[in-house]
């Protein structure tokens, strides 16, 4: 799915959460969105999913302008907020089944896919457990399994590595993300963990105060930041902080 953002802005009262953001994202990529707290990462993901309405500018998916009412496009997008949203009394299995129905995904291949995800996230013993009884990390993994099983063209994930997932879950998610990208899927996620972003990104988008400061493959950023101590992204963040001061 080709994604284009054209001068996207979002204001909450006086606060400009997004300020004329323009991006082009090609299909089959993992894009990490980085930035200090309040930089506009979550707002960007919410705009892309249709939850939040941009104040100005537009989002285009495959060249077509995106509106919340366009259900055909919305079925190609999955969004997982920082806190997974699910009905508390639904069991893990029921939740996954519900999400698959909503995305119109079915067939016998889905069965093995769901099994792989349940095994990979160590969720098998919990399939009959209500979502409300799960810990935060388990609930996040259950919600993520459902969306990964739906296998949408675009997956938007807010802070997956600060979700309470255990190390095994994080490793499995990274592997699944790589496999999805090989199938042409696009994954956009926000994070504050620079090490992880360096290892799991085809492109990095660095935001600050609602603006995109850098949007490039990691190799290009390395060239920009040559000579500074620490990792590439640590150097970039240091520069951001210094420029702000």
């Amino acid at each position: 799915m080709q994604i284009a953002l054209e001068s996207l802005s979002k204001r909450y009262g006086k606060v400009r959460a997004l300020d004329k953001v323009s991006l082009e994202i090609n299909p089959g990529q993992i894009v990490s969105i980085l930035g200090p707290n309040g930089a506009g990462k979550t707002t960007l993901l919410r705009c892309l999913s249709g939850i939040v309405a941009p104040s100005s500018g537009e989002i285009r998916y495959d060249g077509e302008r995106f509106f919340r009412g366009n259900m055909a496009v919305r079925r190609r997008i999955a969004y997982l907020p920082d806190f997974p949203i699910a009905f508390p009394n639904n069991t893990v299995l029921r939740h996954i089944g519900m999400v698959l129905q909503l995305y119109g995904v079915g067939g016998s291949s889905t069965e093995s896919r769901v099994m792989d995800l349940l095994r990979g996230f160590d969720l098998m013993p919990l399939i009959e457990t209500p979502m409300a009884k799960l810990s935060r990390g388990q609930a996040y993994k259950a919600a993520l399994s459902a969306l990964l099983a739906a296998d949408t063209e675009l997956l938007l994930v807010d802070e997956p590595f600060a979700s309470g997932m255990d190390p095994n879950g994080i490793t499995f998610l990274k592997r699944e993300a790589r496999n999805s990208v090989k199938r042409g899927r696009t994954i956009i996620y926000s994070t504050q963990i620079l090490d992880l972003a360096e290892k799991l990104s085809d492109r990095v988008c660095v935001m600050d105060r609602g603006e995109v400061r850098h949007y490039a493959p990691l190799a290009e950023l390395q060239a920009v930041n040559a000579g500074s101590a620490g990792t590439v992204l640590e150097g970039l963040f240091q520069q951001l902080r210094e420029s702000a001061q």
């Binding site: 889905t110 409300a132 810990s135």
Partner: protein, 554 residues
């Protein structure tokens, strides 16, 4: 328990502001994020709510002329009743399972201190209510011939109303802890608002009806305070004062009950707390064994895709299922959180209530006003008069606001509305015979004849159906920031809504006042037309992305 450190806050603010002033960008950023002085002041201690309530009573002042004092006194009685229910139930909710409880559990605060903190909030909220009552009774006194020169009477009425309300708001949650705010207080608040536009016969009816509640007794006493002929009505002050005197006892009993409940939660009920607020570790997690990738399949596709069975649920669910296609059933499953089967049970309860009501109406020598109650209760329970209960609209708290559940899944405005509309039509139609039969018996008992009851019953059903698009729109609206998002589109919608409100209210009033069947039919059609227009206009706002699916966090 002190929750503020004003001296420290002041010092830190001063130092921080001095430091930020040195850096232009930082200062600009600070100013950008800080709320305006007016907003900060208004939001402190729910002052905004107080201002809005005061404005409401000023509106009442402007609306009510000359001797229409009954309208305003009915509004006071209804408001006092609603606020009693709301404050009492909300207080209990906050103490045993609310945000405050969740917050203080994470800090070294004893249950006693926590309870004291909540009591203080409760008392403050009633002080605010006292000011509102004072203002309201002043308006009555000024706008009518009621003792404007005697401020003592106004003060007494407001004081009695407050003490009586505070006392009852302690008794109600103690004896009816399961009562829901949405089902009890909200409809009465709604009635308070619309009673200002009701015609004289309806006000007369309400003026008698409010005698059923203690708040109404005080209004009646106030109205008849100068009238020697109404000595009997003045006597109502005795039971009202008696309720006020039970306040210490009510506080004592409520305190005891709440302390016991908090104690149960803290000592033995850790499971309950886990359930309420979610825990970091659960027994399931502790028992979890790593699963080998060689584990054989335990789950078949049929299990994964298995939805709730509409066919095995009750007869109303079967009827609704027939009207839904496959895709709509998926949306309905989702919007009901996969819990199909509640509608038939509710209908059975409504039928039972209505049957008892019909028998009582036909046989028991009760006052006419009480005979309406089972009909109203049956309708509220059995039919989706306010759009029904749809868990898919439930909000989930995330940082920055509350997102309705449906927003993160690919289900749209039209799809959800279609399912709700179809289901609600079926539910209202199956409830219709209950209402019509009841109305016929009631009209016969009240001497209006069965034909009158039959017509009014049919009109009631028609009105419930005609209002459905509005109710559906209201469900969507509750999960958005439409009232805070000010742009050309939301302003245009608000303008349209105001324009539509006038013919809608006029049609609803006309529906029950007009004698001609033709006018009644036109009125129903007009209501339906207006609500459909509102629904369609909101759809445009929603689908074109002019509002956020993000309501303010509490």
């Amino acid at each position: 328990m002190k929750l503020k450190s004003p001296a420290l806050e002041k010092r830190v603010r001063e130092v921080a502001r001095d430091e930020m002033r040195l850096d232009k960008a930082l200062w600009k950023d600070y100013k950008r994020h800080r709320k305006s002085w007016l907003r900060r002041k208004l939001e402190e201690g729910n002052k905004l709510l107080f201002v809005l309530l005061s404005l409401f009573w000023v509106l009442v002042f402007a609306r009510v002329r000359g001797h229409e004092k009954e309208t305003i006194l009915v509004a006071i009685a209804l408001y006092a009743t609603a606020t009693t229910l709301f404050r009492g139930l909300n207080f209990r909710l906050n103490v045993v399972g609310g945000y405050d409880r969740a917050l203080f559990l994470h800090f070294p605060v004893s249950d006693n201190d926590f309870l004291k903190h909540e009591w203080k909030k409760f008392v403050r909220s009633w002080l605010g209510a006292f000011c509102v009552f004072l203002l309201a009774y002043w308006i009555v006194a000024l706008r009518s011939d009621l003792v404007p020169e005697n401020p003592g009477l106004v003060l007494l009425a407001a004081g009695l109303q407050t003490l009586c309300g505070a006392s009852l708001s302690m008794w109600v949650p103690t004896f009816f802890p399961r009562l829901k705010i949405v089902a009890s207080a909200i409809p009465i608040y709604f009635l308070t608002f619309i009673c200002l536009w009701l015609p004289a016969p309806a006000i007369e009816f309400l003026w008698s009806s409010v005698l059923l509640v203690p708040a109404g007794w005080i209004s009646h006493v106030f109205a008849s305070s100068r009238d020697a002929a109404s000595r009997a009505e003045n006597l109502l002050i005795v039971p009202a004062a008696a309720i006020c005197l039970t306040l210490p006892l009510a506080l004592h009993i409520a305190r005891k009950a709440l302390s016991a409940e908090l104690d149960r939660q803290t000592r033995a009920g850790s499971d309950q707390l886990e359930q309420m607020f979610g825990g970091a570790e659960t027994p399931e997690e502790a028992d979890t064994e790593p699963i080998s990738s060689q584990t054989p399949l335990q789950v078949a596709y049929e299990h994964i895709s298995e939805g709730p069975s509409w066919e095995k649920a009750g007869w109303i669910e079967k009827l609704v299922a027939r009207s839904l296609n496959a895709q709509e059933r998926i949306v309905a499953d989702f919007m009901l959180a996969q819990n199909v089967g509640d509608w038939s049970k509710r209908w059975r309860t409504a039928a039972l209530i209505s049957t008892v009501g019909v028998l009582v109406t036909a046989l028991a020598p009760l006052p006419p006003l009480t005979l309406f109650l089972p009909m109203v209760a049956g309708g509220l329970w059995g039919a989706p008069l306010f759009g029904g209960i749809w868990p898919g609209f439930t909000g989930a708290a995330t940082f920055g606001g509350v997102i309705p559940t449906y927003a993160v899944f690919p289900v749209g405005y039209v799809e959800i509305s279609r399912v709700m509309f179809k289901a609600n039509i079926v539910r209202i139609l199956v409830w219709a015979p209950l209402l019509i039969a009841y109305a016929t018996v009631l009209a016969t008992r009240l001497g209006n004849g069965p034909r009158y009851g039959l017509v009014e019953g049919i009109l009631g059903v028609a009105l419930a159906l005609a209002l459905q698009p509005l109710m559906i729109t209201a469900h969507f609206s509750a999960g958005t920031n439409d009232t805070r998002q000010i742009n050309l589109h939301t302003l245009a919608f608000s303008g349209l809504a105001m324009v539509l409100l006038i013919p809608t209210i006029a049609s609803v009033v006309g529906l029950f006042v007009a004698d001609s069947l033709l006018i009644k039919s036109v009125a129903v059609t007009s209501v339906f037309g207006c609500t459909m227009l509102a629904w369609a206009a909101y759809m445009r706002l929603f689908n074109r992305g002019r509002i956020d699916l993000l309501s303010a966090s509490r």
